[in-house]
């Protein structure tokens, strides 16, 4: 009943979020869930104002898609954008839907 998949969580500045969501869709993600977030990292505090809005995006995907998303992030987003991403193992009911 349950399938082993990957949960990729990405925290990114909102300026690039629309583009990022389109990109992960192209790489094979069938959906995502997003919440607004504040945060702090190597580039200082981000508290939801001019140039400081974070979006926390999570998507349940197959291991292959997960790897593709991470590669894209490392290649195109990390160099210039305030972004972090992590991956964990999850079990999903009726996982075929998300592959």
């Amino acid at each position: 009943m349950a399938t082993a998949l990957k949960l990729v969580t990405i925290v990114a500045e909102e300026a690039v979020a629309a583009r990022l969501i389109a990109d992960i869709g192209r790489l094979g993600a069938t959906g995502y869930t997003a919440t607004e977030a504040r945060g702090e990292g190597s580039r200082g505090k981000r508290v939801g104002r001019v140039g400081e809005v974070n979006l926390r995006i999570e998507t349940v995907v197959s291991p292959a898609v997960s790897a593709a998303i991470l590669a894209l992030l490392a290649d195109r987003y990390f160099p210039h954008h305030a972004t972090i991403a992590w991956v964990s193992d999850v079990e999903v009911v009726r996982g075929e839907k998300y592959i």
């Binding site: 300026a15 104002r49 210039h80």
Partner: protein, 323 residues
């Protein structure tokens, strides 16, 4: 009105005082936090409201006068990024991406500064022409387009993905609300406006105070990045607004604006964008450093204009008008 009183009006207006309170709250390490969604609701309200008022005023303005003012605004929006980019690359030794990013900010305009200017010139007895919001809307985009083209040229075509960025700027929320508000106000006319004035006109300045309270905290947060900015850019962020103010007020007087309108055009030229430009630059020039362009425009030029720019432009406009 006496110069002293003009200055008093500028410094002790509830707007400037609210901005100062925001700065103070930041340094007192207050836990005062403006909710994110309320902040963006306030900015939607402010942009749509100035659009509406401008649109209703457009209906009763002569075409020639409006066209002249818009032409003056667009000319400034094209010229400012060109010379800013040259100065920044030549004398400031900035790379093309950062120079273009900063040039885009100083060529484009700040809606909040504009609003403060409208309220200010009215308070000192020289109300601006009602159609000025149309000038504001017309000045937002050209500078960004020019700056991205300069970046493209400067980086040999690599940087400045302007074809991707421009549609985003044009459909960006500040343009949609301003231009959309202008259309709604224009079509609804003064009669339609009367029904919504108790919401979009009367409480406007009060809402602006609350917004500036928050802006004060945002700007104060940027003060921490002052070291990154460097001496050259700090001087740039103070000197260029003065230059642009003179150019704007002079051009405004030349195309027939009254002292209030000319002063506001000066303030628009002097102001640096921190809503439309950052959004476009983040997408088209991601390698440019926000610690430079945002800090300069938000933490230096914005308060400078609020406190010095407003009375300066008014004084210039009265001098040029010979009054």
């Amino acid at each position: 009105m006496e110069p002293a009183e003009i200055l008093r009006n500028a410094l002790l207006s509830p707007m400037v005082l609210s901005f100062a309170l925001g700065i103070a709250a930041h340094f007192a390490r207050s836990d005062l936090r403006f909710p994110d969604q309320v902040y963006s609701a306030l900015s939607i309200y402010l942009l749509f409201a100035i659009g509406l008022k401008g649109g209703a005023a457009l209906a009763s303005s002569s075409f020639a006068q409006v066209a002249g003012a818009i032409a003056a605004g667009v000319a400034l929006g094209i010229a400012i990024p060109v010379w800013s980019f040259a100065i920044l690359t030549r004398f400031g030794r900035f790379d093309a991406a950062n120079a273009a990013a900063i040039a885009a900010h100083y060529g484009s305009v700040s809606a909040v500064t504009f609003i403060a200017a409208i309220a200010y010139v009215q308070a000192v007895g020289h109300p601006a022409e009602g159609f000025m919001p149309a000038v504001l809307a017309a000045m937002e985009v050209p500078a960004i387009a020019v700056a991205l083209l300069l970046a493209r040229a400067g980086t040999g075509g690599a940087g400045g993905d302007w074809r991707a960025a421009l549609p985003e700027v044009l459909a960006g929320k500040s343009i949609v609300l301003l231009v959309g508000g202008l259309c709604v106000g224009f079509l609804a006319g003064p009669a339609g406006m009367k029904a919504v004035a108790p919401f979009f006109v009367d409480p406007f300045q009060g809402v602006l105070c609350l917004f500036l309270l928050d802006m004060g905290m945002v700007a104060a947060r940027r003060f921490a990045d002052f070291r990154q900015v460097g001496r050259f850019l700090a001087v740039f962020a103070l000197a260029m607004p003065v230059l642009h103010a003179v150019a704007g007020v002079w051009l405004g007087t030349a195309v027939g604006l009254g002292p209030g309108g000319a002063a506001v055009l000066g303030v628009l030229a002097a102001s640096a964008s921190y809503i439309a430009a950052p959004a476009a630059v983040r997408v088209a020039l991601p390698e440019a450093n926000p610690g430079l362009y945002l800090t300069a425009s938000l933490a230096i030029t914005f308060p400078f204009n609020l406190i010095v720019g407003l009375p300066l432009c008014m004084a210039l406009a009265r001098a040029f008008a010979g009054s």
